[in-house]
Amino acid sequence: MAGVLIYSNNPNYLMELQSAAAVIAQGRPVQTLILSGINSADSIKVENLYICRNKVCISDVGVVAELVKQAASQLNCDIVLLSGDRRGKELAGRLAQKMGAGVSTDVSALKVEDGKIIASRNAFGGALVEESIIVMNAQIFAIAPKSFAEAVPINSPIKEIELTIPDGVVELIASNPKSDDAVDIAEADTLLAMGCGFEAQSSIAEVEKIAAKMNAVIGCSKPVATDRKWFSEDRVIGISGKTCKPILAVLMGISGQVQFWAGIREAKTIVAINNDENAPILGMVDYAYVADLKDAVPHLIDKLGPKGL
């Protein structure tokens, strides 16, 4: 039986992909490929780990796709699991075209029924959840981060794999780590979301007071980050940002656009505060409060004081 090949440039996602592979392998061999540029290659603890030691520019998607395709062929794999981060997503389509495969990206769940792999992902801007089956044998899945738990590490010797490195055409000139904060909104138990209903950037300082009292993290809707530039992109909640599943989400000044909702709808309890009684969000949440943020925010700060709740 042809096997499953796992590839990612991110050691943490490699561990999540081991768990994803366990769901679909159904007795197939599972192999993992890494390229030499990956961080801490020697500390990756998975079975059947193969490393290609040649130096390659992983920013050249054509080169990476060619290498993953060769590895899949050499290791007799027709199913490939990729991480659903940006490096994984950009690779997915090119690799699929090379392998004559079907590909599903941003996969949030996998199951097997009657020997067929069924992948779940958002569709229609996030309004729908689609379950689909790839009709050909060659199947590629780019798995959304945090959809699977990291597998237990297994000590195992790394094997080398010889691949033919194609000529690259994309050259990496500089790589600058983003100086953004270390906050990962997808890890928060309590998440406050700021939307376009806020008028002034100075509101952030006020919402931060609420966050401090609630031990919460602040995220935002996409326009607040990309258009207003009040936050960096890693604070964006939604289909093109992060999918968050906090215990409590408080949505402030958010209307309830489909693409945003897809990133928060799995929160355990959701509160919305909006001054527009017709805002769609108010009919979608657990607790809806129609109020002007200019009143609601100071009230919350006041009532959440050490003397209050």
Partner: protein, 250 residues
């Protein structure tokens, strides 16, 4: 050199009602996805440097002849449309094959621009499939694009989750953009009126030589997630906090 921006017509999802967990597809209003509009604007800003035209390329159903005016109003010089109602619901690999055939009908293409994902399916795979079929360099998630005429290369700053990379590649190339790259312009009334007069080449399925590949996916189900939320209206901060406290949330 000409720039092509590939744009996908999608239903305006905000206006679609859900009934019994399925979208109601009557009287659908079509538009382009927001990332496609960012790609169009990126093309407008690069046009002068590359010295050519900005051509809007779309594949889809016959509504496109109307929908594309939005893109022509926002800075596209011409449009090339591959339209047929049988193209209403194509898989990414089918669209990619049609886009590549259509690109063959355009002269002197230096750059093909995409949004990071379409407004409806958002799978982000067409850019890679097209780049592979063309065997061109592919650069994703561009936040800044500049063209160096002396070397005929583009310099792109691309945004990954934890780093920003600066990469260079020779033209012709395929690039996808993120929303942060620019602000989408809202066309003036004059621009909207002029859009109707800009050249449009329209091809139908009979004009297409490529034999379309089969679909890659069988859709087992596609349903809106159930929403069983309480939808309790609270009338004051006190009421809200009391409710949250009673659930041990604060």
């Amino acid at each position: 050199m000409n720039i092509v921006v590939a744009m996908k017509q999608v239903p305006d999802i905000q206006q679609i009602r859900i009934r019994a967990r399925k979208p109601v597809m009557e009287d659908v209003v079509y538009t382009f996805g927001s990332f496609d509009k960012n790609a169009l604007e990126a093309g407008v800003q690069l046009k002068e440097a590359l010295g050519g035209k900005l051509i809007v390329l779309c594949v889809g159903n016959t509504e496109l002849e109307d929908t594309v005016k939005e893109a022509l109003a926002a800075g596209g010089d011409e449009a090339l449309l591959v339209v047929d109602d049988i193209y209403s619901d194509l898989d990414s690999c089918q669209v990619s094959a049609l886009l590549v055939e259509a690109l063959g009908k355009i002269e002197d293409v230096g750059l093909v621009l995409f949004g990071e994902g379409s407004g409806d399916n958002y799978s982000g795979q067409v850019v890679g499939r097209v780049a592979e079929l063309l065997n061109w360099p592919q650069i994703g998630f561009a936040q800044e694009i500049s063209y160096e005429q002396s070397t005929n290369m583009i310099r792109v700053i691309r945004a990954l989750e934890d780093v920003r990379e600066t990469v260079i590649a020779p033209l012709p190339a395929v690039v996808s953009v993120v929303a942060e790259i620019n602000e989408v312009r809202i066309p003036s009334v004059t621009q909207i009126l002029k859009a109707g007069r800009k050249p449009k080449k329209v091809f139908e399925s009979a004009d297409i030589e490529t034999v379309l590949p089969g679909k890659t996916h069988f859709i087992k189900s596609s349903l809106a997630p159930e929403n069983n939320r309480k939808t309790i209206i609270v009338k004051s901060v006190d009421e809200l906090l009391t409710a949250l406290k009673s659930e041990n949330l604060i």
